[in-house]
């Protein structure tokens, strides 16, 4: 096992298929916390449902990951060998400086917050039903108070918003603009 914070260079040879995006996000959280190197990917086309998400893994670690999912009660469909490359989740993050505020954009999602207080002032982008819900739950709370998209979201839009949230936290904690 080796840790790779964003998993961008990791290439696995196996894939875990989940019932839904929420399961995949929970699975990623569990395996990353346990130190596995993984990345979120698009499942094979015949298994896609539109907002589906899968986890690319080292197939040799299948048993340990399956056990971990059972311990953490992460439901999944099956683990398959990956015979050809899967699409990679868009990891490009852009930050726009609006003076008193930053807008962080990850893929199709944007999160804006006040630099001094960390107050989330707007969430925009995306088209899945959890995004207006996440907006209602996150806006007008600080980055430390707000629930995280991966804890209450369900879809790939929430996955991208989580990326934006993590970058916002990094900036608020003094990280530099990359």
């Amino acid at each position: 096992m080796a840790d790779s914070p964003k998993g961008t260079k990791f290439v696995g040879d196996g894939i875990v298929i989940f019932h839904d995006v929420a399961g995949a996000m929970k699975g990623e959280k569990a395996v990353r916390a346990a130190g596995y190197e993984v990345k979120l990917v698009s499942p094979p086309p015949q298994l896609r449902m539109g907002c589906d998400l899968a986890l690319e893994i080292n197939l040799v670690e299948e048993q340990g990951i399956e056990r971990l999912f059972q311990e953490k009660e992460v439901p999944f469909v099956q683990v398959l060998p990956l015979t050809k490359g899967a699409s990679v989740l868009c990891e490009v993050i852009k930050v726009t400086d609006f003076g008193r505020w930053y807008m962080v954009k990850a893929g199709n999602m944007k999160l804006s917050f006040e630099k001094e207080t960390g107050l989330v002032v707007n969430v925009s982008g995306g088209g899945c039903p959890d995004i207006p819900y996440l907006n209602a739950e996150m806006v007008d709370k600080t980055l430390s108070q707000t629930p995280q998209p991966r804890d209450i979201g369900y879809t790939l839009c929430a996955t991208m918003l989580q990326r934006a949230y993590e970058e916002a936290v990094r900036l608020f904690e003094g990280g530099s603009l990359s």
Binding site: S87, L89, M103, G127, P132, Y133, N135, Y154, A158
Partner: protein, 296 residues
């Protein structure tokens, strides 16, 4: 009849179908109140403002609560698929919903059996489902933002978060090229209204209009300002404008309302929505040359 279709960000809001009205800071249909901001609520608010300006019949809404699990999405698709022939709407705008391609296929099959085909607009999850199911050509208007435009330009993509690596940058200068590619690959509706720093209106693979003014950069962070464009173009088509003219008017209306609201990144979309009646009243006459007289 115009039907505005989409999910609402509540866990337990039941399926609701009825004519919509504004009640203070809320929208109301069939006795139930819901938020007029964000997502489907913002889209409905914009369409209602335009319908009110032109003294059209208030739109019908078909909504249900869904926070991402897909329950409300299934309910509204099932309702409309079963009744679209009987309701015979002239116009349907489809918005936030879980992109479930099988539901979209069944809905379009039902539309194809209708005696009179409704005018169809899609944005958000409904647009993802239509594109993913290979049914873009069944729609009259899509209203993507630049990242969704990159998704439409990628023939393999089923969600904007997964696009070919060369499209990752979402470079705004590539939008015209992506518009051409989406039309070439059959992933575009008959008309595309691409909302961004520059708004593009394209038909048949050709960009007809690029709208840059007024330039209000602070609109981008405000959640719901893309949703309002979808509502505006819906209301304007329903009021009788040609789709390409409605698209240009929608862009100019949103931008002008943004300018009047003097926004910053913390502004909420309802402050923009509240400017739409003023924009329609003060600007539509000069933009169109066709002036509307209020009843005395």
């Amino acid at each position: 009849m115009m039907i505005l279709f989409g999910t609402l960000p509540y866990n337990d809001f039941p399926l609701t179908f009825g004519q919509v009205s504004r009640e203070g800071d809320y929208l109301k249909a069939d006795g139930r109140e819901f938020s007029r901001t964000q997502g489907t609520g913002a889209m409905i608010s914009a369409a209602l403002a335009i319908a009110t300006h032109f003294k059209e019949e208030p739109p019908y809404v078909l909504v249900a609560g869904d926070i991402g699990g897909g329950n409300g999405t299934r309910d509204i698709y099932q309702y409309l698929t079963e009744r679209v022939g009987e309701l015979a709407p002239d116009f349907i705008a489809m918005h936030y919903s879980l992109p479930i391609m099988a539901l979209m296929r069944k809905f379009i099959e039902a539309v194809q059996r209708c005696e009179k085909r409704p005018f169809l607009i899609a944005d958000a999850g409904a647009m993802y489902a239509a594109k993913g199911a290979g049914l873009s050509g069944e729609f009259d208007i899509f209203t993507p933002d630049p990242s969704e435009m990159a998704f439409l330009a990628d023939p393999q993509a089923t969600h904007p978060a997964y696009i070919a690596k060369h499209l990752f940058e979402c470079d705004a200068s590539l939008v015209p090229q992506q518009i051409a590619e989406a039309f070439r690959s059959g992933s575009a509706a008959k008309l595309l209204l691409v909302k961004g720093k520059t708004d593009y209106v394209a038909q048949g693979g050709e960009i007809l209009h690029a709208v840059n003014e007024p330039d209000v950069p602070h609109l981008e962070p405000i959640g719901g300002t893309g949703d309002t464009i979808t509502g505006l173009v819906s209301g304007l088509v329903y009021a009788g404008l040609a789709p390409k003219d409605a698209a240009v008017f929608a862009c100019r209306t949103n931008r002008t309302a943004g300018k009047l609201a003097e926004p910053n990144p913390a502004t909420k979309v309802k402050e923009i929505i509240d400017q739409f009646p003023r924009v329609a009243k003060e600007y539509y006459c000069s933009w169109s040359g066709v002036c509307y007289m209020d009843d005395k």
